[in-house]
Every structure is written in structure tokens, then in C-alpha cells.
Symmetry: C2
């Protein structure tokens, strides 16, 4: 018997599509259905086997024992009350959004059994055409249970992620947002700011360094604007930390080469400790 009977994925993009492919591959759901505003996304998801059935209307999710929101934060907030009217009370609800405090606060009021989720996978790409069952292999998935989350439901969501290759770590929603502001949102701010600083005419001289540091600046602008706004308080704090660290290097360049080497060496050692 599979872990879930009918899983409904709302949003069949890179992450939603990859979850569908992984659920099918590891036989974790008897049936997977998908919902998207975009007909082409549904038809591609069906063609690649990410979903068994799909449509642009929420009606198809009826009878699901698991609903996974895989849309941007604002779409989740918009759709949640509509989804609540269709699913049954014992249906588990989870999501994959990049921020958690706002989502968990709103969704735990709407759904009796909600578990926040955030797989640290994906890339600057968005579309289902980049989806793959393997993107969670070796990744980390953060789960942020709500106050009312049933232990058994948390266990099932954990089992799902572990079965498709992710290491699960539990965090409170506020902790999650504090950590992500630093390890994900700040790198995006840095990448966007960096590419905006380089004069257009100089871009032809870009080598590996500039390319790597700004790769994620090609991410979807609308989605990232939402993430920054949804985690505004922590993001502003992380920006201030970056500003301080830039300023420390700037002062050292102005004044003292020895101090500069010490600062850069601390950075090097820290970077090398990242696996």
C-alpha cells in the first residue's frame, strides 16, 4: 500500500512537477493530480508522468488525502480558503514555499492539519520542463509543523521527503525564516545588487567569478520580490549584516593590508567548511 492514496499538487512548476515525478517513481501515491493556471504546464506534467490527471480548476483535488501547495506565497494565500472548501477534514495539507512564518500563521487557521515545508532544492529555473525526480536526492527539506499538526501527519510528510532523497530537519516557522534570510534570501540580494552594479559594457568581460556569484540573479523577479516582502524583517536584518561586512573590508582596503588578509582568510575558512 502506498503512503498516500490521492495526492493533489497545486502548482506544477519546477518543484511541483519534480515532487510528482518523485512520488510516482518511488510509488508513494496511488494517484497524483495537478492544478495549474497554465494549460500547457498541466499537459506537460501529464506527458512527463509527473501527474496522472490535472486541470485548471481546483475541483480535481476532491478526495485527496494530501494537498501540496507548490505555488508562490501570494497564490497559496489566495487559494487556501478555496481549497479548504473542497477537501475533507482529515486531508493533510503542506506546502513548499520559501518563507514560513506568514504561511503557517494563515494556513493553520484554515486547515486543521497543516505542516509547513521547504525543500532546499530547485534553482533559478521555474518551469516544469526542468523538473526531475532526482532534484531532492541529497538535499535538505525543512519542515515547520503548526501547533495543531497531528504527529502522525508530520511523520507521513517526513517519510515522503525521506523517501524521495531529502534529509528532513524540523524548525519552528520563525527560526526557519531567520535562517533562510541568511542562507538564501541574502545571497539573492547580493546577486541582484552585484549584477546591477556592473556597467552593461563590461559584461563581455565576465568570467567564472561574476557568473557564479550572480547566477541566481536570473531568478524570477516577481517571486523574489514576494519572498523578500514576506520575510521583510529578517531580510532587512540580514542586509544590514552584509552592509557591515562589506564596510569592514572597505575600511581594511583603505587602511591596512594585514587586517584585510585576516578578514579574507576568515571568509575562506568559513566557505571551506560548507559541504
Amino acid at each position: 500500500m502506498s503512503l498516500f492514496r490521492k495526492v493533489a499538487i497545486i502548482g506544477t512548476g519546477l518543484i511541483g512537477g519534480s515532487i510528482g515525478l518523485a512520488l510516482k517513481k518511488h510509488r508513494l501515491a496511488a494517484e497524483v493530480v495537478g492544478v495549474s493556471r497554465h494549460k500547457e504546464s498541466i499537459s506537460l506534467a501529464r506527458k512527463t508522468g509527473a501527474i496522472d490527471n490535472g486541470g485548471t480548476s481546483l475541483e480535481i483535488i476532491r478526495g485527496a488525502d494530501l494537498v501540496i501547495f507548490a505555488t508562490p506565497v501570494n497564490v497559496i494565500i489566495d487559494l487556501a480558503p478555496k481549497v479548504a472548501k473542497i477537501i475533507e477534514r482529515n486531508c493533510i495539507v503542506t506546502d513548499v514555499a520559501s518563507t514560513k512564518e506568514e504561511i503557517v500563521r494563515l494556513l493553520e487557521k484554515i486547515f486543521p492539519d497543516f505542516v509547513g515545508g521547504h525543500p532546499l532544492a530547485g534553482s533559478e529555473k521555474r518551469s516544469i520542463s526542468y523538473a526531475s525526480a532526482g532534484i531532492f536526492q541529497g538535499s535538505v527539506c525543512l519542515l515547520t509543523p503548526a501547533k495543531k499538526t497531528k504527529q502522525d501527519s508530520l511523520r507521513k510528510i517526513r517519510t515522503l521527503w525521506e523517501n524521495i532523497g531529502a534529509k528532513v530537519i524540523l524548525l519552528s516557522a520563525p527560526e526557519h525564516d531567520k535562517v533562510l534570510a541568511m542562507v538564501s534570501h541574502l545571497p539573492h540580494i547580493a546577486a541582484f545588487s552585484l549584477i546591477n552594479s556592473v556597467p552593461k559594457g563590461y559584461l563581455k568581460f565576465a568570467a567564472g567569478g561574476l557568473k557564479d556569484t550572480t547566477r541566481i540573479a536570473a531568478s524570477d523577479a516577481e517571486i523574489w520580490a514576494q519572498i523578500f516582502m514576506s520575510n521583510r524583517k529578517n531580510v532587512l536584518k540580514s542586509i544590514e549584516a552584509l552592509e557591515r561586512n562589506i564596510s569592514v573590508i572597505k575600511s581594511a582596503i583603505k587602511q591596512n593590508k594585514k587586517q584585510l588578509s585576516v578578514i579574507l582568510n576568515a571568509a575562506k575558512n568559513k566557505r571551506e567548511s560548507v559541504v
Copy 2:
């Protein structure tokens, strides 16, 4: 007949070693010799075929018709007068250092026929053990001729780089340093500052975004401190540009989501124009 009779590479690290391998592979030099402070580096360079002969003393460069400095800036400045005493007047001298204004100003006084060079290849790695003949394939090599550089010598250096796969672009040394401050030195500043901003306990949550944006923070601290000091004026200007662009995003997060999307979208389009 090969392009050069005897090429002397001073500094057999990642770039020096790779040049040796490429020269041999494309038969551009009848003989390649190497000099390094490190005996192991010389013996590894000989074993991999990057050089025919080598040693820790400069004596071995005698009779070269091309000397390539592939050491950090301060070592070039230190060794140049010693090299000048050994080589003959008609020997062409070039280098691969990351900054050019200071180097060209000093070395054009010491050598009658000097061409500044800077291959935009390499990585955060340094050692000869990462060297490969292929690292220049499809890369850009910037050449900064000095006032006295002979046209024929410039042509020969250009031919060398083109033969090992690089596209050559000529720039004045001041232009070079202005461009590199933006496309290379600033990304390093951003990467060092970014990793220094992330609390150590959060590093286990690092995914692709943080890893890519800070990969070059694992670069050698001493070398980068020298590069920043050697190009101090331009680097400080580029840092100020970054600070302004971070501040623009910060204000938008504080005030106006719509403006934020516009800024991020401009960044996305710019990044996507980088090939």
C-alpha cells in the same frame, strides 16, 4: 618551427602549469622551463609534462626568448629586477597578473619589451595539481601593451593565446583595472562579505544559492588582499556602487513592492544577457 624557442614560466601553479601544458600540447615552444619556490611544484610540473626542466633558482631561465610571470603581483615586483639581469635584451616578457596598472608601470621600466597579460581563466584553486591545457579554451585573455612594446612581440603573444584557445582583447592598463574591479574584484568582495555575514550555525542549511554566490570566497586570502590593494582606487569605487545598489533594494523592501519587482527584473534581464 615553433613560435618560441625557450619559454620560461616563473610560478608553476594553476595558471603557469596550465600554460606550460598548453604550450607543449600545441607545440608553441621548443623548450619550456619553470621556476618555483616550491620543489614539489616543480617536480609535479615536470611529471605532468607542463615543463621540460625546472628549478628553484632563476638561473634556468637564461637564454629564454619569452618569460611569463605567473606569480602573485608582489612576487613579480620582487623578482623583475633579478630576471632582467639574467635574460637577453631581445627576450619578450609578459605576465598573467590580475591587476595591470601597477605592474605595467613598473615592468615597462625594467624590461625593454613587456606586454601585460591577464587570462580570464582559473578558479579559486591554485595548485599545479589542478592545471590543464584546456582551461583557456573559449576564455578571454586581456593584453595591455606598454608604450615601448614592439608590434611584432604583441603579435607573437597574441598568437600564443589564440593558439591555446583564448579570445584576445586589447585594453590599456588603466581601462583593464577599471573593468576588472567590477567584473572580478567586486564579485570577490561580495562573496567574502556574504559568507562572513552568515552565522556559522546556519551553514548546514546552505543550498545551491549560497554555495554558488560564495564559491570564490574560498580563493587564496593573501593573493586577493594583494589584488585589492594593487587596484585600491577602482575597487573602492566598485564597492561604493555595490553599496548603492544594495541600498536601493533595501529601500524598496522597506517601502514599495512594485519598485522592488522592477529593480529585480532589471537585474534578471542583465544577468540573462551574460553569455
